[in-house]
């Protein structure tokens, strides 16, 4: 993807000196940020910070008082969004959006909603209705292609069965997904999502994470997203921009933003206090594994999703995959394409360990095995590739990272743990009794055996 746009390799959208005033009210004040191509950029901040106003400026629903919004398309064309009408932005600059309070065409069927999104290409192929009215075959072909494309997205969002039901009849979570699919049917290069996880429960937001990662990885669409659900923001976004009172207060990776004192004060609140409170409550209830439950959350949901939809195949397997899918694949061929959120989170820590090794060799190796590590700790994963420890029920991304830091990368390492090792591990993982209760050792033994039977490490999605 880098080679295609020489002049501006990474930014798909540049927001420069953006200001928006409503009468005397300053909604956005001199805002600058960039959204990177092929990345998920999250826009977070307190209520009324001006996040949706930024969206409305980008998508042309508001004309900004000042500032420049530059959209660079994959083919190198640049558009100044502040000068364009809303519908032209979608049509020409390929920016699509969803709305905070879902705006589906509730009286049209699910399929029709996706067909309306393909209005412009269909309008062309129907010769601005005239050829279509006379029954020219070009339109018939285009119409069936449009339905195929709609079907592709319906399969992605698991709504094929309900294609012929009115959109207003869908449950809330499905409506959210449909709205995203509808936006994707306009073939956008930048997808702007306004609180896509609002009103979704934990499981649905885990599903949403997977959908968004799929969109990013398979179609190469860049995503800009407003969200309050931190399980979404922190897990999937590559870059986070924090607004308060229309001004940027922080900008960086989820990790840096999460630990930025300004963000914590203005937006997140103190995380630890909540955990302490939780443990207290759990103890009162005679429950000792509440932290385990908390940690379990993300992993288990992801496993479940994978179990539930093993057929959520990568787009390449579906013949009708839109052209953008293939184009995106070509551009991302170099780096390992991750298939699901689970793989993604697993790959990340491992990759970062490997990558950071040459640059900071001294810092890494001694620090890699932290004090208090288990007996069989390794300095680095064998063959440079760690096992996906999160496959073990009870290990989440956080724990996996901790384990990696303490030199545990492989199933057989855990399988070989003795009592002393368990105590040591539980000490740094900061919970007791859970390793035995959830039988990590047993799980790890099984998994270690499996990986011996199939010597090639399981690498889903790598084949593409």
């Amino acid at each position: 993807m880098v080679s295609e746009v020489q002049n501006n390799p990474t930014a798909i959208l540049r927001v420069e000196r953006l200001s928006m005033k409503f009468g005397g009210l300053i909604a956005i004040n001199d805002l600058n940020f960039e959204a990177k191509r092929g990345a998920i950029t999250a826009l977070i901040g307190p209520n009324g910070a001006g996040k949706t106003t930024v969206f409305n400026c980008i998508t042309g629903f508001y004309k900004p008082t000042e500032g420049m919004l530059t959209m660079t398309r994959q083919n190198g064309e640049e558009y100044l969004l502040e000068r364009m009408a809303d519908f032209v932005i979608t049509k020409k600059a390929k920016v699509a959006r969803t709305f905070q309070n879902i705006r589906l065409f509730s009286g049209l069927t699910v399929l029709e909603n996706l067909l309306v999104a393909q209005h412009n290409p269909l309008m062309l192929s129907s010769g601005f209705t005239i050829l279509g009215l006379l029954g020219f075959p070009t339109y018939k072909k285009a119409a069936s292609d449009a339905i195929e494309k709609a079907r592709f997205w319906l399969e992605k969002i698991n709504l094929v069965e309900r294609a012929d039901d009115p959109a207003g009849d869908l449950p809330y979570g499905a409506q959210r997904r449909l709205e995203i699919a509808r936006a994707m049917c306009t073939d956008p290069e930048l997808l702007c999502l306004d609180e896509p996880a609002a009103g979704l429960n934990a499981r649905e937001s885990a599903e949403l994470n997977k959908l968004l990662l799929d969109i990013r990885d398979e179609t190469g669409t860049s995503i800009l997203l407003i969200e309050h659900d931190m399980s979404v923001v922190m897990e999937i976004s590559d870059h986070v921009v924090v607004l308060e009172y229309g001004t940027k207060i922080s900008d960086g990776t989820p990790e840096t933003v999460k630990n930025d004192p300004k963000v914590i004060a203005a937006y997140l609140g103190v995380e630890d206090e909540e955990v302490v409170e939780l443990i207290e409550q759990a103890e009162a209830a005679g429950l000792d594994d509440i932290t385990a439950a908390v940690d379990l959350l993300s992993t288990e949901a992801l496993h479940e999703i994978e179990e539930a939809h093993p057929d959520m195949a990568p787009a390449a397997l579906i013949p009708s995959a839109p052209a953008t899918v293939r184009r995106a694949r070509a551009t991302t061929a170099k780096k390992p394409v991750v298939k699901s959120a689970a793989d993604k989170t697993a790959a990340k820590p491992a990759a970062s360990t490997v990558k950071s090794k040459p640059t900071t060799p001294t810092a890494k190796s001694p620090a890699a095995i932290k004090p208090g590590a288990t007996a069989n700790a390794l300095a680095e994963p064998r063959g440079g590739k760690a096992d996906k420890l999160i496959v073990i029920k009870g290990i989440g991304p956080v724990n996996e990272r901790k384990l990696n830091q303490h030199g545990i990368f492989h199933f057989d390492q855990i399988a070989a743990w003795k009592k002393a090792d368990i105590i040591a591990a539980e000490a740094y993982l900061a919970f007791d009794g859970r390793i035995a209760r959830e039988d990590w050792i047993g799980q790890a033994k099984k998994l270690a055996k499996q990986s011996q039977v199939t010597p090639a490490p399981k690498k889903t999605g790598g084949a593409k």
Binding site: F99, T109, L111, S126, G132
Partner: protein, 465 residues
């Protein structure tokens, strides 16, 4: 809990009696002065007060007994029925309902001949059949079909695109006057002027569309209402061209491929060796308007499956979402206005050819209101529903003229036509209470993946303007 759920039959009866008496008393209070007394002038030009206690009693009894029956029998019955219906699984549409449009179309195609045959059998002579059919073909057939066509045209604007247009009759007027003027001044033929009238009306639709595009809802309704009135006032006051309230008369009739429907030797009847009668022209007009109406329906059905038709409906559901999907709502609204206006124009030129006379009288606001009422009653967006509504409303008012027996009840002075609008309004209220989304509120989707399922009216929106 049981006391809440079960209501004893006795209490229903008592409640019904109570409500019946109350309704009777209310009716008495309401009609006591209005119906009970009537001022008349007698032969000596004196004002005399007539007392009409009998009539008043009828009104009061109808209200009281009606209310009683409603509460005691009809409401429990319908509740029981709806409960049973709930228990039963949603059934497939019955075969009759499915094939209703086809049956209806077949009937419409043979309607004039059916009427002639029946009257022939009734009168015993072919001439009797022909002359007698005049009234049924003209007053019922053509009149209803004009309104069907107008309502189908307006349906594109109101039912599909969700733009409330209260001045639709203006396009009807534009069509009628463009035929009337161009035919009387330049002698152009009907078949040339028919499409031209449509194009003129469409142009006017676009002209109206441009300034009002930014308006929504009530504002749009008011501006279109004003537009309708402006057109009418121009027609009245621009006397040089339109001859004002006198109207334009002697408009050329339509011809069948150049064969005129005149009594002369080159006329239609003479050429085919048929007995002379005005009825051929009426039958010809009947098929002409049927053809035009079917054209409207066909285009509407085709357009709904085109991207533009889908965009209209999407516009009705949510304009902002439309814009976010890259749809130019300005042109989309304009095409809806223009297409709707075009069919209004066709109907207008047909109207001029049928009447042979046009005047601003025919294009008052009431006409717009009636057309809109038909669209709403039929169920916005549904062609079949609208056709039924037009038949009921227009056919019903025509039928009123035929109801001689009413005179026997209400006395010889009673002219049922005067109560036309009252009944019209009453019918609307009844239908709206009974079926708030019109006769056919369900919407047929324009595309499907597995199976075409009707979309229940509770999901569709009326549009915001």
């Amino acid at each position: 809990m049981a006391d809440v759920q079960k209501i004893e039959p006795d209490s229903v009866f008592a409640k019904a009696v109570k409500e019946g008496l109350l309704a009777g008393a209310l009716a008495f209070g309401l009609f006591f002065l209005i119906v009970g007394f009537r001022t008349d002038q007698n032969i000596r030009n004196e004002l005399v007060l007539n007392q009409r206690w009998g009539l008043l009693a009828i009104f009061v009894l109808v209200a009281g007994i009606g209310r009683f029956l409603l509460t005691a029998y009809i409401t429990p019955w319908s509740e029981a029925r709806s409960k049973n219906k709930r228990a039963a699984v949603e059934k497939e549409q019955s075969a009759f309902r499915k094939s209703f449009p086809k049956i209806g179309l077949g009937l419409l195609l043979i309607y004039p001949f059916l009427v002639i045959l029946i009257l022939w059998a009734y009168n015993g002579s072919i001439m009797g059949g022909l002359q007698g059919s005049l009234k049924y073909v003209d007053n019922f057939g053509i009149q209803i079909l004009i309104y069907v066509m107008l309502a189908w045209g307006l349906n594109i604007v109101v039912g599909l695109a969700g733009l409330l247009d209260l001045g639709y009759v203006a396009f009807y007027a534009v069509g009628a006057y463009s035929y009337a003027l161009l035919s009387t001044h330049f002698g152009l033929s009907f078949w040339l002027l028919l499409p031209m009238a449509g194009i003129f009306a469409a142009l006017w639709g676009i002209m109206l569309g441009f300034p009002v595009l930014r308006l929504r809802g009530d504002y749009l309704a008011i501006v279109t209402l004003a537009f309708g009135e402006i057109i009418r006032l121009v027609l009245i006051n621009w006397t040089v061209v339109t001859k004002g309230t006198f109207g334009i008369s002697g408009i050329a009739k339509a011809t069948l491929f150049g064969i005129p429907f005149t009594p002369g030797p080159t006329g239609f009847a003479a050429l085919l060796g048929l007995p002379n009668s005005g009825v051929y022209y009426k039958i010809f007009l009947y098929y002409l308007i049927l053809l035009l109406a079917l054209l409207t329906a066909w285009v509407t059905i085709r357009l709904r499956r085109m991207p533009i038709g889908r965009a209209w409906e999407a516009l009705r559901e949510d304009e902002i979402a439309c814009r976010s999907l890259g749809i130019n709502t300005t042109t989309t609204k304009l095409t809806a206005f223009a297409t709707g206006a075009m069919f209004g124009g066709f109907a207008g030129s047909f109207f001029a050819a049928r009447q042979g006379f046009v005047s601003p009288e025919s294009f008052v606001f009431l006409e717009s209101a009636i057309i809109l009422a038909i669209v709403v009653l039929g169920g916005m967006g549904s062609l079949v529903g609208i056709a039924i509504a037009a038949a009921v409303m227009i056919g019903g008012t025509e039928l009123l003229r035929e109801l001689e027996f009413l005179k026997r009840i209400f006395g010889p002075d009673f002219t049922p036509e005067l109560y036309r609008m009252l009944l019209f309004g009453l019918a609307m209220i009844v239908v709206m209470v009974w079926k708030p989304r019109g006769f056919v509120g369900n919407r047929e989707p324009s595309a499907f993946l597995h199976k075409r399922k009707m979309v229940s009216s509770e999901f569709t929106k009326e549009g915001h303007g």
